[in-house]
């Protein structure tokens, strides 16, 4: 990439770059919190809460994710555009979840259909293997 501006302008030192540095203790604290939450999520999985299972598991995982994002990935001290980009992607992802799950859960409400057709060509039958 030498071509046009090969000639040497004089070298200027640019001091503008100040990146935030967390203390070692903060990182270690987050690490311990993550381990603790892992133990909690494994522990909780032994009990059956019916429909709430998924909710609890996702809540714990989201806490761990929030910790990693905020501290390990410096989102807390970062320029707002990076936060908007990342949170925005989670919102757009939830749109994909929202509409597909809405479709699958309310599928034959209006016009109920019973049973599943048996014969589909060369259906996979692992028992006969």
């Amino acid at each position: 990439m030498a071509d046009a501006h090969a000639e040497h302008g004089e070298v200027q030192i640019d001091e503008s770059l100040k990146t935030h540095v967390c203390s070692g203790g903060q990182f270690f604290g987050v690490y311990i919190a993550l381990l603790f939450l892992t133990i909690v999520t494994v522990g909780v999985s032994y009990f059956d809460f019916g429909d709430f299972n998924m909710l609890i598991a996702m809540a714990i995982a989201s806490c761990k994710a929030a910790l990693v994002m905020a501290i390990f990935m410096h989102l807390r001290w970062d320029t707002p555009i990076n936060n908007i980009a990342f949170i925005g992607s989670l919102i757009f992802l939830s749109l994909l979840f929202l509409f597909t799950v809405a479709d699958f859960s309310t599928r034959s409400d209006m016009e109920p259909v019973h049973g599943i057709p048996a014969e589909v060509n060369n259906a996979f039958d692992w028992k006969s293997k």
Binding site: L17, V42, A61, I81, W126
Partner: protein, 231 residues
């Protein structure tokens, strides 16, 4: 008139090399923030990529619930938890490595990075044992799914158990592939770090690969409960 060539301050001590700011940027912070925003957008595409997989998993989790819960019990929970702890440790060591680089501590950064690579390889080794444990019993992904006599009765009454294992192998496989990419990236960091390229003035590559590593860890944080502790 050609611009003055900008440089970031090079810390003393150690074999640090000065970093020249690219010609089309007007300041070092503009370059750093551009690189960071671009990499965050790349991480957004990673999130959307795995998001598609999670959406597919959630749909079939709702449709074939008892198959998923039954097959989840088949997976080795202890190995899964061990893997989670290993990956969290590697995420912590990576963060400490980035911190060392921002404080221009070359030796300390390289040690933390070696620890991260060590944990990542540990993660892959544990995954290797998990996969072989499944393969020995004929539990292969997709159409090769042919459980032998020890597992066959377990799947007797279940509807399409092959879908759970297809999701299991696809999601952990693609995640494992990303862990491999991360290992190569960190090895490149160690090699270049050794030459003194990364210091407080130019910590962008270490910072960005650190972000990539944390995203890989983030995805495993969601993968672990969904696959191993099927709620």
């Amino acid at each position: 008139m050609s611009h003055a060539v900008l440089e970031t301050p090079t810390p003393s001590g150690g074999n640090f090399r000065p970093h020249k700011v690219a010609h089309h940027f007007t300041s070092a912070v503009q370059e750093f923030q551009s690189l960071k925003l671009a990499f965050w957008l790349f991480l957004v595409t990673e999130v959307m990529l795995f998001g598609g997989l999670f959406a597919g998993y959630y749909i079939y989790h709702e449709q074939y619930l008892e198959t998923f819960v039954a097959c989840g019990k088949l997976l080795n929970r202890e190995l899964g938890s061990l893997n989670t702890i290993i990956l969290l440790t590697s995420s912590w060591t990576m963060a400490m490595g980035v911190r060392a680089c921002q404080r221009s501590k070359q030796r300390e950064m390289i040690n933390w990075l070696w620890l991260t690579v060590l944990c990542a390889c540990g993660f892959m080794v544990v995954k290797y044992f998990e996969y072989t444990a499944k393969f020995d019993h004929g539990v292969f992904p997709g159409s090769f799914f042919a459980p032998d006599e020890t597992y066959a009765p377990f799947f007797e009454g279940l509807l399409h158990p092959n879908i759970f294992f297809s999701f299991y192998f696809t999601m952990t496989g693609i995640h494992g592939f990303h862990v491999l990419l991360g290992i190569f990236a960190i090895l490149w960091l160690i090699w270049q770090g050794g030459k003194g390229r990364f210091h407080a003035g130019f910590s962008a590559p270490v910072d960005l690969i650190g972000l990539y590593w944390h995203i890989v860890d983030l995805i495993w944080i969601f993968l672990f409960p969904l696959l191993y502790l099927v709620p």
